[in-house]
Symmetry: C2
Subunit: 352 residues, 2 copies
């Protein structure tokens, strides 16, 4: 058997197993029942295509929607860089679930950028947020959200202090690991501010206790757990969690898109040429020899271009066709790259 | 020799040695030079009577005063209880040094009360501050100070976050000990908020960098050191420190007045009868048998009533007389208690 193909299949299986294992290990619920029982209007590409891999108490939010009760969605962004397609995917998902009347909260965590050393000051993060993120929110229909940078909304710190008094440093260290809470700012951010952000929709100013949806990557699961504990102690509704796969790096299916690793992310303000070049150089799920590819087929799950389509293309039927054709070798890796390039350029570059 | 007397003298020596040792160990400057060179108007009972035991860079503040330059004094209070004579002593000292135009800052640390578990919520501490502390500040001529409770002044948290990003948790743990930074709130308070309070007078809003005086008990010395380090990194003037003896407990010369230990403190709103009873039951520097006392004399330094006079009575000559007469046995412990009671009642109970 073709060694290259074998490796790609092994990688695909490894990733699938990783997500399954993480969901199980952390006591999360899988999405089978959701897919079976959720009303059609709460289905979307994220759920149907397995981008949402698990959840905790999503039913609480689904019930609120079904019964026209208030609910909220919290999804922050770290303003250490411009927005990339990974952010777009999350904002699209937020937008999907917000359309039944959910109140959206978008904390822009310039304090997180700063305490993690990704910017040199709170001001730098604040400037990024105001120049590179806030102006783009209307693209996602999120301009009516509660949007703030943490340092411009210091009330969040008062709430964080209240929470921080209930949490031992040791518990936060266990949840996040020593490195993530090395300095005092990281400790207070992860053991206070981040939790306050999730619980913020439930303060009297925003209408009191209500189901709250928090979409996160699996690595952020510990802080949802902490927030759920704190919610109970404060008499609030424990927030519901959607665990999502994060948009993978263009270069490595095991990594996330990241501004700090060059060439791994497509930014919302990249030019047509840059997008083309980046996708062209991206990791492929197809073996090198065309002849072998025609015989064996591709591995779409680990193909960077296919994943761009999977996360962003709205057309389910088209996606099924591309998946099948690529899988069977009827489409080449190059074909998928071309389709993805055209689609992403269309998405991101405003036509004149 | 009388065993009781011997023990009392030993205790006096032990305390003197403790303060000297602490000052040396921590690299503080002693007050000898200050007493020699400070202009008379900067002398006061706190310096002359050894209540100020050491300092760090006090010259910087003295220079600002001599040259009519801006300077500030920061002295917070923990609103976990009503004010007692220990607080009065510190506020009197602040008042002394403020009279040459110093800008006074009085952070009321309801977050500290909360994270240390001395009140159940930030609100409870806030209420204490507004009911039990702020109304009394005019008594000390401090009504024009910058006064706030931390949670009502959340800008302090933004500054604290900036500082917290520069300080490793480990450094804070080393400075304060594990127990004092057990929960995340304590970590952020001691490794962020408290330092922000000391540096607050130097932000642009209050006129920028300037010498700042911080009177503290020896146990608070580590946080002044941290604040001095941070000040340098932020391009601010390292704050100057006055280390003071704190008003001793009525029951034990080795302890401080504390609301949490009953009968150790006289509160500013105690009634005449309560004051009388507390002083009457206080620890004395005199041996039990009158005959022995007349022979051996008393040990004023460890006498609770004498210490009340030492910290609060403005008349240096009278104090010298009382000291000498008590020391020689001409005044008894009971006499000193009576003098102290009359004086403290006069101080605290408004005459009708």
């Amino acid at each position: 058997m073709n060694k290259e193909y074998k490796e790609k299949v092994a990688l695909k299986n490894k990733l699938a197993k990783y997500y399954l294992g993480q969901a199980k290990k952390n006591g999360l619920s899988d999405t089978k029942l959701l897919k079976k029982y959720l009303p059609l209007e709460l289905r979307n590409r994220f759920l149907d295509r397995g981008i949402i891999i698990a959840h905790l108490d999503f039913e609480r939010v689904a019930d609120a929607i079904a019964n026209h009760k208030p609910y909220a969605i919290v999804s922050g962004a770290n303003p250490s860089s411009a927005l990339h397609l990974g952010h777009k995917a999350v904002f699209d998902l937020v937008s999907e679930y917000a359309k039944y009347g959910g109140q959206v909260f978008i904390p822009l965590t310039n304090d997180e950028s700063y305490v993690d050393g990704k910017v040199n000051s709170l001001e730098e993060g604040n400037k990024n947020a105001h120049e590179k993120i806030i102006p783009l929110l209307p693209r996602f229909g999120l301009e009516k959200s509660v949007v703030f940078t943490d340092s411009d909304y210091p009330e969040i710190y008062v709430m964080a202090m209240e929470i921080a008094g209930m949490l031992d440093c040791e518990a936060v260290r266990m949840a996040f690991g020593d490195k993530a809470v090395k300095n005092v700012g990281q400790m207070f951010y992860r053991g206070g501010v981040q939790i306050a952000q999730i619980l913020l929709p439930q303060i009297p100013k925003y209408g009191g206790p209500k189901p709250t949806l928090v979409p996160v990557g699996i690595d952020q699961h510990p802080y949802v757990l902490l927030a759920r504990d704190i919610a109970k102690r404060m008499g609030l509704v424990p927030p519901s969690e959607l665990v999502i796969k994060l948009q993978s790096s263009l270069k490595d299916p095991e990594e996330k898109m990241s501004k700090s690793k060059q060439g791994t992310a497509i930014f919302l303000d990249d030019s047509k040429d840059v997008i083309k070049k980046k996708i062209n150089a991206a990791y492929t799920g197809s073996v090198s020899k065309l002849e072998d590819h025609r015989n064996l087929g591709g591995v779409p799950e680990i193909d960077a271009a296919f994943n761009l389509l999977l996360f962003h293309h709205p057309d389910d039927k088209l996606m099924a066709t591309i998946h099948a054709d690529y899988r069977k070798g009827r489409l080449t890796g190059g074909d998928v790259k071309r389709i993805a390039t055209d689609f992403i350029v269309d998405c991101l570059i405003p036509s004149v």
